[in-house]
């Protein structure tokens, strides 16, 4: 299958995502420039981490207007799998593909460290190969990852089982201490109604090789491969 990694001018985890799916997993992958309007026939899209346009305004606030985003939206509307990691998640929020917003981390400091997240649901494009309740050790790396939404929205997300990852402690519990950034209800990742668009703050692409400390992130990319195989064919992108 083929992954498209969207490159905004300030993306900086684009090479990491590309390396993970291409060199570690062995799938086809290509970079797609944000000014382009074609995904080049990709079966799945990754919006990588970084600082898309410097993010001096709200993170992702400008990126949503890049020409490629209209294509990503229609790809997502057609059921195509889209993963937004970190800045990619922030962009999905700004683009309205996922609900909610990001605040600065509680404590106002940038945080780069390994965290534990628990897989809450396995019927999404990026968790299909996970076990429910499985915990993954994956790094976070952000200054604005404090996920925020109104209680109504949060209740709806939970009711619709759209909270996909939560920060948890060593015992697998979503305690306040395990919450690195103050995110509402320990939320680390959510999905859309169609369960094909997933946004998450932790970086699975940084946890795909044991030599880097963890290979727990691989299962997300394996999940999308499985999802597409189960569908009996690849999604068609424009």
């Amino acid at each position: 299958m083929k992954f498209a990694v969207v490159v905004f001018p300030g993306s900086n985890c684009d090479h990491d995502a590309y390396h993970a799916v291409k060199h570690v997993l062995g799938h086809d992958a290509s970079f797609v420039w944000h000014k382009d309007t074609s995904l080049g026939g990709a079966d799945a899209v990754i919006l990588p981490g970084g600082f898309a346009h410097g993010d001096y305004l709200r993170t992702g606030a400008i990126a949503r207007y890049s020409p490629i985003m209209a294509t990503v939206r229609s790809f997502a509307d057609g059921g195509g799998p889209v993963l937004g990691v970190c800045n990619g998640f922030q962009i999905l929020l700004e683009a309205g593909l996922l609900p909610g917003a990001m605040l600065r981390n509680r404590g106002l400091k940038f945080i780069c460290e390994d965290v534990r997240i628990r897989v809450e649901e396995t019927d999404t494009a990026f968790t299909a190969a996970c076990a429910k309740g499985q915990t993954l050790r994956i790094p976070i790396n952000h200054g604005e990852g404090n996920y925020f939404a109104s209680d109504d929205v949060l209740d709806a997300l939970e009711r619709e089982r759209r909270v996909i990852f939560r920060y948890v402690d060593a015992a697998g519990q979503p305690t306040p201490e395990a919450n690195p950034n103050g995110a509402s209800r320990n939320i680390a990742g959510i999905c859309n109604e169609g369960r094909n668009v997933v946004g998450m703050m932790p970086h699975p692409e940084r946890a795909c090789e044991g030599v880097l400390g963890s290979a727990d992130g691989l299962v997300l990319f394996e999940s999308v491969v499985k999802t597409l195989a189960d569908r009996g064919g690849m999604a068609v992108s424009r």
């Binding site: 001018p9 990491d16 420039w33 410097g54």
Partner: protein, 740 residues
């Protein structure tokens, strides 16, 4: 008589004899713009006029050296047709005035030096010095510097993989911020900043020019006093996103052969980049400042030439290839302007709307600054410093151990490192703060290890030996990770060179670096000198910071310092003597810096390092940690922290006034604590013996306690959890409300 009054010359930092020399070079009085050009180019910061005669004595050549001092950064061959480009630079003065922006733009500057050479920056390190953290202002400076380093490096997407932080009262008014960057490039793809080809267009690329940073280089060449806070406008503001665009655009441009030369506009801005680029190529450059994109109205040629606005580059492009490069500028939405061309007359000619406002030989600016043989003399006070006072009452070993672990110089720097992206580009093989910085080289089996080290206390007592110890320690750290040290860069932070005692410290330190590098076969490929690190006449500790780069041929053999969590033999390499001069123990427990620093036998050091590299590459060892600040006890504890588990050891008692304290806390050089891989202990010991490296099996890893006996008698027994808590909180407590 000069057309400028004494006050004008003083404001430009030019002495009377320097002005006379300018008049002699030009054959006439300079214009104000020309005076500005000479002022910045002949400043200490740009011209190295006080340090040059000493720096010339450093060894700079070797079979791996592809680019030595003189270019934007040094470059060494690392095999597989690849080169590593690396350099360290200071941003001390700006970081004192405005910590966040000062540090951020320091990072921006060193990154530009690396990608200007055509290299993709892959790792950052830093070496920081602050005053004691019980002073709120020092906490403010540290917080700002760390946030600035993170703010820039995280955004542009280059991993900050480690570094070092130390504290001393002398840094209160004068913090040190030294930043190191490492990049990778194909060995045949290195780009030089050497203009050529008469008629080739000269492009200006990047951020617009403003009035920020005018005379930054001159500011960095003077001492501070109470009025320094008013110099804040001379500190530039960084824009990491703009630099990211420049980085990507420049690397893309350099893939074509349309680019002749690239030079970043750092200190002294447009002046330095045009003068140096022209002088290196033996050509002239003519520009018209009215074509330079500016962000403020009414800027004079003087201001445009001297502005140190950040994120700007100068490019010389092959004539006829303009459309090709302009397409790339456009792709990245970068401001670019053709501002002039290469000429054959060797002059830097500056026009303003066609009218010449300055016309100076490029080489006069770049190469003909006065060279000073400044007088130096050992200060009279040195003799007393070198005597060791009678030791005061020492606390019990266990108390001293915990006190050392929680002192900010030794304590965990995790509070700092977690604010840096230490992993981006997925090459980081050793977590930040757990030894040398190690990044793999994708597409090869290799990894690179780097370490930055320096100890101002040792250098205060003996700058010659102190500087040697810095070289030895940085190289030893690299060797502990399994890296063969292959190159050195240095950042020399000292006080006012016009004072003979400071110049003596400087001269002695450079002599020490040279001798150590020759003995260890390490070429110095570049670096930076920062003088005038004084406030109100009080200089910082003499602080040469040494960056060493090493190659690990098999990335799967990288070692960290942390015990691997199995029961293994622990081996102490090297022998321990009674050496407390300038030690962390002396400073933390007795509050003094006195005596002589640890002796260094460079032959023995070299043998130890070669043993460490061989043992790692052959799998004889599983972990290795350099024994340095705080001595053996601290070293052992650091091997246990981060899930290494406990250890029980029994040390021989060294010959010393207090053998227990010496065994635990002496800072004797050329030592390391390693664990032997199962079944490899005999091989390791045999090889150590053959290399004449003292080696003793001192105990085993395992359990959850740190137990240290000296000659069979228990000296320290402490749970790893208690020790690790002291270590973890030692720095953090100053920032998270746990200190009154």
């Amino acid at each position: 008589m000069s057309t400028f009054d004494a006050a004008t010359l003083e404001r430009h930092g030019l002495k009377d004899d320097e002005y006379a020399r300018i008049v002699e070079i030009l054959g006439r009085e300079p214009t104000l713009t020309e005076l500005g050009l000479f002022s910045v180019m002949w400043s200490e910061h740009c011209s190295y006029k006080s340090s040059r005669v000493h720096l010339k004595t450093l060894p700079t050549t070797g079979p791996r050296v592809l680019e030595g001092p003189g270019e934007n950064a040094g470059a060494v061959d690392i095999g597989d047709g690849m080169a590593a480009v690396f350099k360290i630079e200071s941003h001390n003065h700006p970081s004192f005035i405005e910590p966040y922006q000062g540090a951020a733009t320091g990072v921006g500057g060193i990154i530009r030096d690396i990608f200007t050479m055509g290299a993709r920056p892959v790792a950052l390190m830093n070496s920081l010095r602050f005053g004691p953290l019980d002073e709120p202002n020092n906490r403010r400076i540290l917080s700002g510097v760390v946030a600035g380093i993170g703010g820039y490096g995280n955004s542009i997407g280059i991993a900050t993989v480690g570094g070092e932080v130390m504290f001393d009262e002398t840094y209160s008014g004068n913090p040190l911020v030294n930043v190191f960057c490492l990049g990778l490039v194909k060995a045949d793809g290195i780009v030089r900043a050497k203009a050529s080809g008469v008629g080739n267009p000269v492009y200006y690329l990047g951020a617009k020019t403003g009035r920020d940073g005018i005379h930054g280089a001159t500011m960095a060449s003077a001492e501070f006093d109470e009025a320094s806070a008013e110099k804040r406008p001379a500190v530039q503001v960084g824009d990491p996103f703009m630099e990211k665009l420049l980085l990507e655009a420049c690397l893309e441009l350099m893939k074509s052969d349309a680019v002749v030369a690239v030079q970043d506009m750092g200190a002294a801005g447009l002046t330095c980049s045009t003068a140096e680029c022209g002088a290196r190529g033996g050509v002239g450059i003519e520009i018209d400042v009215s074509l330079v994109p500016v962000r403020e109205t009414g800027m004079t040629p003087y201001e445009i030439m001297l502005s140190e606005s950040q994120e700007r580059m100068l490019l010389v492009v092959k004539k006829g290839r303009e459309a090709e490069v302009e397409r790339i500028f456009e792709k990245w939405d970068l401001h670019a302007a053709k501002i002039g061309e290469v000429t054959g007359d060797g002059l830097l000619r500056v026009k303003n709307q066609g009218e010449v406002v300055a016309e100076v030989p490029a080489s006069a600016l770049a190469d003909d600054a006065p060279v000073y043989h400044r007088p130096f003399a050992e200060p009279a006070s040195q003799a007393e410093l070198r005597t060791m006072p009678a030791p005061g009452a020492a606390p019990a070993p266990r108390d001293a151990f915990l006190q050392l672990l929680s002192s900010p110089g030794i304590a965990s720097k995790q509070w700092i490192y977690r604010q840096y992206d230490s992993m981006v580009r997925t090459n980081t093989l050793v977590p930040a703060g757990a030894g040398a910085g190690v990044v793999r080289v994708k597409g090869t089996s290799r990894a690179l290890a780097t370490s930055v080290d320096g100890n101002g206390r040792y250098c205060l007592l003996d700058p010659y030996v102190g500087a040697q110890l810095a070289v030895a320690e940085a190289a030893r750290n690299v060797a502990c990770a399994g890296g063969q040290p292959i190159g050195v860069t240095n950042c020399l932070n000292f006080g006012n060179p016009e004072r003979p005692e400071i110049m003596w410290q400087f001269a002695e330190a450079v002599r020490g670096i040279g001798d150590a590098c020759r003995a260890l076969d390490l070429p110095v490929t570049g670096g930076n000198v920062s003088l005038y690190n004084e406030t109100d006449g009080k200089a910082v500790l003499p602080t040469p910071v040494i960056g060493v780069l090493g190659v690990i041929d098999d990335a799967s053999r990288v070692q960290s310092r942390v015990f691997p969590g199995e029961e293994l033999d622990i081996v102490l390499l090297g022998s321990t003597k009674d050496e407390f001069g300038g030690s962390e123990y002396q400073k933390t427990l007795h509050g003094i810096i006195r005596g002589v620093p640890p002796a260094l036998d460079l032959d023995r050091e070299r043998a130890l390092q070669s043993l460490l590299v061989e043992a790692a590459s052959k799998g004889w060892t599983r972990s290795a940690h350099d024994c340095a600040d705080g001595g053996f006890a601290v070293t052992l504890a650091e091997c246990c922290f981060g899930s290494g588990g406990g250890a029980t050891v029994d040390l021989a008692a060294p010959e010393a006034g207090d053998p227990v304290a010496a065994a635990l806390f002496s800072e004797t050089a050329s030592r390391a604590v390693v664990t032997a891989a199962t079944g490899q202990i005999d091989t390791l010991l045999e090889r150590a013996k053959a290399l004449n490296v003292p080696a003793a099996v001192i105990g085993r890893t395992g359990g959850a306690r740190i137990v240290i006996r000296v000659a069979g008698r228990e000296a320290i027994d402490c749970s790893v959890a208690e020790a690790e808590a002291a270590w973890s909180q030692g720095l953090k407590r100053y920032f998270e409300g746990k200190v009154a």
